[in-house]
Amino acid sequence: MKRLLRIFIRFVLILVSLLFVFNLPGLLEIGKDKVQININTFWSFVKSDLHSLTSINDPRYWEFVQTVDLAESYQYTMTILVLSLLLVTLLSVVISIIVFISPPKVRNLFRSIVNFFEAVPDLLIIFLFMFFVVTLYKTTGFKFLQLYGVFGKKPYFVPVMTVSFLPFFLLLQFLLKVITDEQNQLYVEYAIAKGIGQVRILGVHIFRNIFPLAISQLRSIVWVLLSNIYLVEFIFNINGFNQQLFKVVIYGGNITTLVIFLFMLTIPLLIIESIGWFLSRKVKGKVEASI
């Protein structure tokens, strides 16, 4: 009973925050030379939104959704997300192994490079990629890489590369830090003393131990990927899911569609969070059993 009440309160709180945040422009009215707080407009907006949320079966609210190609664009955006996530994880794991078996001088060089990329803004990377592709086209005259999403075409290669560039460095930085911490652990020293090779210690023992941590880090990677995809779709003019969302924000207007679109956008985050939750429970259970 208590738990049910708690879930109910949570639901109400989330609803309240949704209504408050999306009606904030109604609350803050632009006055003559200052911003005024206008409770009346705000309240009427909230009421109409509540009505819209409760009468979700009304076909009028679904007219707008039918005008956009929802399924196809969503599939495209999620494909980009999954591809870049795979690319990021694979590359960063491989590179981190290479870093750790290379001599200390090279390792420090790698570290400073990775730390440098922490400060690079994502827009700079996106525009650099765009510039690179365009100059490649201009100098050779051949269209190696498709950039823009005009005439219903949907490029994959360039967006995936652009989107996953910075998250790759983010994950690599995290892996380097965690592995360095882990290398001082007793079990690693024991493994070295037994004569197990570097790569095997890394691949079998250390990676197994940092796995739960890495999953929780993957959440922020997905987060960065999502916002990068948003920028890339806008800059390359690709007709992906975020562009549909943009249409909803500008023309669509009603809160039900907005909430549904936003929820669809957060599904990957939810998936990765639940994976992390199950894993941490499993790990905790194991620790309890071993003690």
Binding site: V16, L24, S227, I250
Partner: protein, 336 residues
């Protein structure tokens, strides 16, 4: 060791940039060397803006024929003041809220977390865009000051949840430490604990938060600028060759606005985009350097304090006792 070399260096750089930008009206050309058509000695037209970077135009010009480097210098003050101001307000309000929650009503923390759940799942660019479009998304004849206030409120609003949650977490951790616990046991009140035990820690965390928030504000203003949400709104009269319908131009020439305004020119004049982004990049690198050093100081402080304590513990050598320090006691009197 704790040192602030990089912090001092970085802040000096930002301060100089700010002052140079504030003093722009006293030395810079008012129209940013506005020149659309270039002619040779005979008066023939040999070029049309945008011009690429050259000796005459250090960083090139935009479509209006205005020099990018003058524009950047002029706009720097708006970008920097907004970023720093918004970061301060975020930390002030968010920090106070988080502090309050952790100390007085820790039971409400999970509910506040639920209230802020939107901010955990929706990228902040998107949120900023959704909230700014109704006001800034079109040309309107509202005074600039109210638009700026509105934008600053939104920018602050977007960042407060993360600051609140961080502060609340850190205060919770500090409250669990042994020195606070023993102080509680010895009967200290909440105000005493805040003043003596929490404040010195919270203070240095606060500075670190401000620096972090400056970076995040710089990022978000840059991205919002790309979508045309310029600081200070859009101005109708602006760009050569786009008279009907008017193309939005930035009113203040702040850096994000320059990016958004020249976005369509990218293929013809990539320098108009790259120079503001590089300017952003340099500022972010400098702020990031400061942040790194502050973080290092924070984590290194525990070790440092330990060293200092050990130095203080060393006592004076024991005084040698002489026979005058002793006193004969009458044994029989004591027994009685």
């Amino acid at each position: 060791m704790r040192n602030f070399q990089k912090t001092i260096l970085g802040s000096t750089f930002l301060l100089i940039l700010l002052i140079v930008s504030l003093l722009y009206p006293y030395y810079g050309p008012k129209d940013f060397n506005h020149k659309v058509i270039m002619t040779n000695e005979q008066g023939d037209v040999i070029g049309r803006a945008p011009f690429p970077p050259s000796e005459q135009h250090l960083l090139g010009t935009d479509r209006n024929g205005e020099d990018m480097h003058w524009l950047l210098l002029y706009g720097a003050k708006f970008t920097l003041i907004t970023a720093i101001g918004v970061a301060f307000i975020r930390v002030l309000f968010g920090g106070a809220l988080g502090f309050f929650i952790s100390i007085w009503v820790p039971c409400l923390k999970s509910y506040v977390q639920d209230l802020f759940i939107i901010f955990r799942y929706i990228p902040s660019v998107l949120l900023g865009l959704i909230l700014m479009i109704p006001i800034v998304g079109d040309f309107n004849d509202v005074p600039v000051s109210s638009i700026v206030i509105y934008q600053i409120i939104i920018l602050v609003f977007i960042g407060i949840p993360s600051v609140t949650m961080f502060t609340s977490d850190i205060t919770g951790e500090l409250l669990k430490t042994t020195f606070v616990q023993s102080s509680y046991l010895m009967g200290a009140g909440k105000l005493h604990i805040i003043r003596r035990h929490l404040w010195p820690h919270i203070r240095s965390y606060g500075i670190l938060f401000v620096v972090q928030q400056i970076i995040s504000t710089l990022h978000i203003t840059m991205q919002l600028g790309l979508f045309g949400m310029f600081l200070g709104g859009r101005s109708r009269a602006g760009i050569m060759g786009y008279d009907e319908p008017p193309k939005p131009a930035t009113l203040s020439n702040e850096w994000a606005g320059l990016i958004g305004q020249n976005f369509n020119e990218f293929l013809r004049a990539p320098w108009t985009i790259f120079t503001p982004i590089m300017a952003y990049f340099i500022v972010i690198v400098v702020v990031n350097m400061i942040k790194k050093e502050l973080e290092q100081n924070l984590t290194g402080r525990e070790a440092l304090k330990w060293n200092r304590k050990r130095k203080n513990v060393r006592q004076d050598p024991m005084k040698r006792l002489t026979s005058t320090d002793f006193q004969m006691v009458d044994v029989r009197n004591v027994e009685k």
